[in-house]
Symmetry: C2
Subunit: 156 residues, 2 copies
DNA sequence: CCAAATAAGTTGAACTCTCAACTGTTGCTG
DNA sequence: CAGCAACAGTTGAGAGTTCAACTTATTTGG
């Protein structure tokens, strides 16, 4: 939505930041996926395992999990099916709501995550934490929080 | 790579920033893709058109274009094939190097881009520019530039 | 307390992306 | 200048994602 006063274009500086943003976020994702590849995982799968590992009973409902990792329900269904085949997690029924499905990290999945995590954390450091000075890193946190907090005109 | 002195885990603050980063970058991408969807484009395709529109003769070599938009050559081939089918761009041969292929934005592609761009820019504003204060936005630029500049141990 | 609306999750087909193999071209090196 | 390595781009198969349709269960409201 544009009102009469909002300019159509970005300033040169804004555009510069925006392009850098595109390139850098791309690079971050590629680096992490690359490093996770030796474990036959991608970032999306890794996030699922992490969320489960932190949850009570290492279990989360499908739709709640989908929200947490920002994936569509359909995509989560497919991905969870794959991870289930690898025995990293299991599906169960959801107490109190027979529609629900509970995804649970297996012991094997937990052990696997313990193995992978240090490498992943190292990748995050390499690509995002180490290259950035402390003040700017804090600012990054604020920026990203603002993005999450913003309620968009279009979806209101 | 970890040396003896780098800690395995992130601090609570670092982890907080990291998670916020994951959620927010996800949201940004989803918002932009969502808004571009009404034009039957995704962000990757849009970027291709923009780069071409800015280049001399509205033309760029495939491999150069792949670098600019951060896509693999293979992916670019497929995407360009699709965009070519839509008549938004055309392939030509590359003067001076018979291996090369030159992608060129058609007039139709240019006109289409002119139509789409204002909506896209508005989306970028909504999701990233407007919610963030000026200083933090500048810091975001520095952060992203650092990520691009960082040379990674693993790829050295 | 029943009917309709909403919610949770899955399914399969169409589409996109990845990966490795392949063709043709250019550059290098002895 | 012959031979070989590296480069540019494409291809097709396999893997992953999206989208809309569908099933089953819960909630809502008349």
């Amino acid at each position: 939505m544009r009102t009469i006063d909002t300019p159509v274009w970005l300033t040169a500086e804004q555009q510069q930041v925006w392009r850098t943003y595109l390139g850098a976020t791309n690079r971050v994702r590629q680096h992490l996926d690359n490093e996770l590849r030796q474990f036959d995982l991608d970032l999306g799968e890794y996030e699922i395992l992490v969320r489960l590992s932190e949850a009570p009973y290492r279990s989360i409902r499908m739709s709640e999990l989908a929200d947490q990792v920002g994936q569509s329900r359909s995509r989560l269904t497919h991905t969870v099916t794959r991870l289930e085949t690898k025995k990293l997690l299991a599906r169960g029924s959801c107490p109190g709501d027979r529609r629900g499905v509970l995804a649970t990290l297996t012991d094997e999945g937990y052990a696997f995550l313990e193995e992978v995590a240090p490498y992943h954390v190292a990748s995050v450091r390499e690509i995002l934490v180490d290259p950035v000075c402390a003040e700017d890193f804090a600012a990054l946190g604020r920026v990203m929080q603002s993005v999450l907090d913003a309620d968009l005109p279009t979806e209101a």
